[in-house]
Symmetry: C2
Subunit: 358 residues, 2 copies
């Protein structure tokens, strides 16, 4: 089994901690002193050797990645010259595995998610590998513990069978982020799962599917193939990636493929750490319902998310259900229920030529 970890994201909704030069995968948002990327690698260590882990990230983040993961071989860190979405990143990783090791079971994970039950994830990945061995492209779906309007969903089709205690189904369809009423119906139906973006397949299978549904990417990968591991690789990627459009594997392959499968997993404690409010599901609240990761002193403060950095003190009076984040050079204050607008705030900073705060 070879594992590709996609670590090229940005995470603007977690501003001001997540920054353009240090996005959320490099931050210890879920577990103190362990970045989400490090957490992702720790999670799969019992399954594979670090020699079998590839990290695909931006060229700008290669050094940061290497620093955070000192025992991952440098040759396993693939630095993209341009961010082109998950499909090219996965394609490069698949081509690399194919070239180095031949046809293998390949797992694709995101570097910026938190999982409360890594043991359960590993069991699910082993089961998914068995389904993948039958020629399927397998995604792990999370049985929704509650309605969620911020995530795409996967609807299951027919039962394919039981694998190590997990059920596998064909995929009926992928659906976009639903409104609340629809999300509630999905949760109640028992047929829909959160789309986690975690995949398991055989290298040859995914390359075939890319060839079938994403011909431009397939051609680029074919051109790249012979240069992998040579001095030409970097320059070739730069040339090929420049012309590739941004494409996600979900839309490029998963929505079209006829060999998709979903394995629902319950109680995984999966969280995409997509916004400040999500920390409420990950971190333990104090007796006032506050999530505190800061030097903090509060009067009549409840239900708040208070994040500091360094030795800066955050003092609050009379706050309820607010987010307060302080970094060395920026402070964010906003109600929890409006934390999606952090993205707009970041956009405004960009328009106001305040790039240094991004």
């Amino acid at each position: 089994m070879k594992i590709a970890i996609l670590a090229g994201g940005s995470g603007t909704r977690l501003w001001p901690r997540s920054r353009s030069r240090r996005p959320k995968q490099f931050l210890d948002l879920a577990i103190p002193n362990q970045s989400l990327l490090q957490e992702t690698v720790e999670r799969i260590r019992p399954l594979v050797s670090v020699e079998d882990v590839l990290i695909v990230t931006s060229r700008d983040f290669v050094r940061q990645t290497a620093r955070q993961l000192p025992d991952v071989p440098k040759a396993n860190i693939l630095g993209e010259p341009y961010g082109r979405g998950s499909a090219p990143a996965i394609g490069w990783a698949a081509a690399t595995i194919m070239r180095r090791w031949g046809n293998e079971t390949m797992v694709s994970l995101h570097a910026d998610h938190h999982i409360a039950r890594p043991d359960l994830l590993r069991q699910a990945l082993v089961a998914a590998a068995r389904v993948a061995a039958q020629g399927h492209i397998v995604t792990l779906g999370v049985v929704p513990p509650r309605p969620h309007t911020g995530l795409g969903h996967v609807q299951r089709g027919q039962l394919l069978g039981q694998f190590d205690g997990f059920s596998a189904f064909t995929i009926a369809r992928f659906v976009e982020k639903p409104d609340y009423e629809r999300a509630r119906q999905y949760t109640d139906s028992g047929e829909y799962y959160w789309n986690t973006g975690m995949f398991v397949w055989q290298t040859q299978t995914i390359l075939q599917e890319i060839d079938a549904y994403m011909p431009q990417l397939s051609a680029a990968l074919a051109a790249l193939q012979a240069t992998i591991g040579t001095r030409l690789e970097r320059r070739t990627v730069a040339r090929l990636w420049r012309d590739l459009p941004v494409q996600q594997i979900d839309y490029g392959v998963m929505e079209h493929t006829r060999i998709g499968a979903v394995i629902p997993v319950e109680g995984l404690g999966w969280n995409d750490v997509g916004d400040w409010d999500s920390l409420a599901d990950i971190r333990k609240a104090d007796e006032h319902g506050n999530i505190i990761a800061a030097e903090f002193e509060g009067i009549d403060t409840s239900g708040c998310i208070i994040i500091g950095s360094g030795r800066r003190l955050i003092g609050t009076i009379g706050l309820k259900d607010m987010v307060v984040v302080a970094t060395d050079d920026a402070v964010l204050v906003c109600p929890r229920r409006r934390d999606q607008e952090v993205r707009s705030l970041v956009e405004r900073l960009r328009l106001a030529n305040k790039e240094k705060y991004l």
Copy 2:
């Protein structure tokens, strides 16, 4: 005319900008790049030479004071070894004036107030000097533009006469900070003025009144008198001040004296800069009613007071009538109407052994 400026205060309600080592008189809270202390000196420059200005402050703040006021003679900065309230500070200044220059018109001002109309203040001080020349202890009262529960009030008595266009009255009584209903009655009556703590008297007069009503302080000043300007002064003050109780001139002299007078001043724009909310009366709000002194970007933010420092950015979403203050090592978030509780927050920090943030 000699002017004493009291600059020993602390100002905990303006935390986290006002700090134990750099309290509010040293901060540019009202006018950018001019501390309240500097503003106080600038205000009276047209009246007197800086040779005639004494600053009474804590020994700990002498260097800071000298740095902010480079043209004030070092010998004019009196550093108290212990803060003992306004009465000993005024007593030391009065004894110093008496020793250096003899009987003079003396003005006593606070270093941490803002005045929008310094020209009007100077006119009132000149008028007050004429009243003082008749043997009165004169205080300037502010005609209240609105009810204020955070200030003591002075009730006027009989008219003493007109002086350069200002009326002077005897003082009927001093009253403590009123509740709102009472403050409203005071404002409506036209007989009550805000007690500003600005006084004008002749040196001999105030020393006589201290002798009459504050015998312990008077004895200390008598013991100090001969050492003023000598090498013994500092040591003598240290010995005497150690045993003095904390006493304010308002309670120690003004409430007892039979020679008090008040000059009401209208439209002075006087502000004691006592809390964050007070900035709303001093600084101009933007089109959303926000008072901004920071690198700032806000979405749907109105009626807020946003204070930064250095190049730290403050970003807000969906805030109304809040105070957000960020310094290098601390952040405060609280509703404007609860800004009095900042003092309690500071007290909690003290109890929690977080002195470095005070």
